[in-house]
Symmetry: C2
Subunit: 216 residues, 2 copies
């Protein structure tokens, strides 16, 4: 348990939402949550407000909190912004790369190669996350890194769905290769372009995502 109950609860509830235990559209009753976690309503309300700020739930005055159920076009918009931010991170990383960041990116890239080769989509999901985080860190812009991490966390469940699409693992990894090459070559604009294309969900990727969303 974290140092204060409110933050711990935030993480607990966030995980429950991201793992679909609390389904989109579901109402979150403060008292039910309080008894479930063995605390009073006060820290529950704190946690809910933080989740509201993150954008995972919506709190309507006097009407309680519900898990947000974003429309497909909104998810598309979120990926569009994510692609832009990651593109910026990539271009900065290419210009500012130092040994430490280079090593971190290389290591994550290697792990992606292994899990992609093994066709292990769960492992790749995790390694891919580390790869992207390594690029955020390499941008050497703390604020950008924070923004990327926050949006990444919010998009996490959809990224996972994307990986289920056939051949996506190998496609994703080969895109990683071009991104790594561009960054290591110090070519900021190429890194930006490749990352934008890699993260964005243009065309059929979007319909694939929508299809896998409705499938569950």
């Amino acid at each position: 348990m974290s140092e204060n109950v409110g933050r711990w609860l935030r993480d607990e509830i966030e995980n429950a939402i991201l793992s679909n235990e609390f389904a989109p559209g579901e109402r979150l009753d403060e008292m039910v949550l309080a008894t479930r976690f063995g605390v009073s309503r006060t820290p529950v309300r704190e946690a809910l407000m933080q989740l509201n700020a993150i954008g995972l739930i919506e709190i309507r005055p006097r009407r309680g909190a519900v898990v947000i159920d974003p429309a497909p076009h909104r998810i598309f918009e979120m990926f569009e912004v994510m692609a832009e931010l990651e593109g910026l991170a990539g271009s900065l990383a290419a210009r500012r790369l130092d040994d430490e960041s280079r090593a971190a990116i290389t290591a994550a890239h290697r792990r992606c190669e292994l899990s992609a080769g093994a066709g292990d989509s769960d492992a790749y999901y995790y390694d891919n996350e580390e790869f992207h985080k390594a690029i955020y860190a390499a941008s050497r812009s703390e604020f950008l890194e924070e923004q990327c991490l926050q949006l990444h966390r919010r998009l996490r469940p959809y990224r996972r769905l994307q990986l289920r699409v056939r051949n996506r693992l190998s496609t994703s990894f080969s895109e990683h290769c071009t991104i790594v090459d561009a960054i290591f070559a110090g070519n900021g604009e190429e890194a930006r372009r490749f990352l934008r294309a890699h993260v964005g969900i243009q065309g059929e990727r979007f319909s694939d995502l929508v299809a896998s969303m409705t499938a569950r």
Copy 2:
């Protein structure tokens, strides 16, 4: 007063911070705020947590809340991200422009022309804000618009400082002209480039900002 006291307090305290009544680094005592606004500690704590989520204050466990005092390099990073997001908004606006958005941008642009011509930096500050907001809306991406508005609000005080720099009004307005031309011409990539350059604080603009920050 808003529908619930917590949100009202959030706005009140936010304004107090942005107008420098609560200076950066200052400690915000819950009880002091509660008596000042004639409420109990509960909604004050709510407001503080929301401000913490926005990034205006920092809440350290068991040690209270302090107004964040961002280092100059962090402000630079924030403008860098803002420039990227506005660039995206501009490029989308150029591609998706409809009559309504075109009218809104034109109207805001006209008002900027008037206040810039009059040398009224306070009026220009406000009109400039509306101009940028019109572009966010024209992007037709609700999520992007929200992100832009949020970051814009956080950078508001620094934008104001920037306008105090000599000749910045006319420079800013002439940049607006090129942006409007690019958007109206449907040239997304030009709109992106011009907006990035307009919003970012490269080179001497950054040192101007730092100078005006230390001056107060």
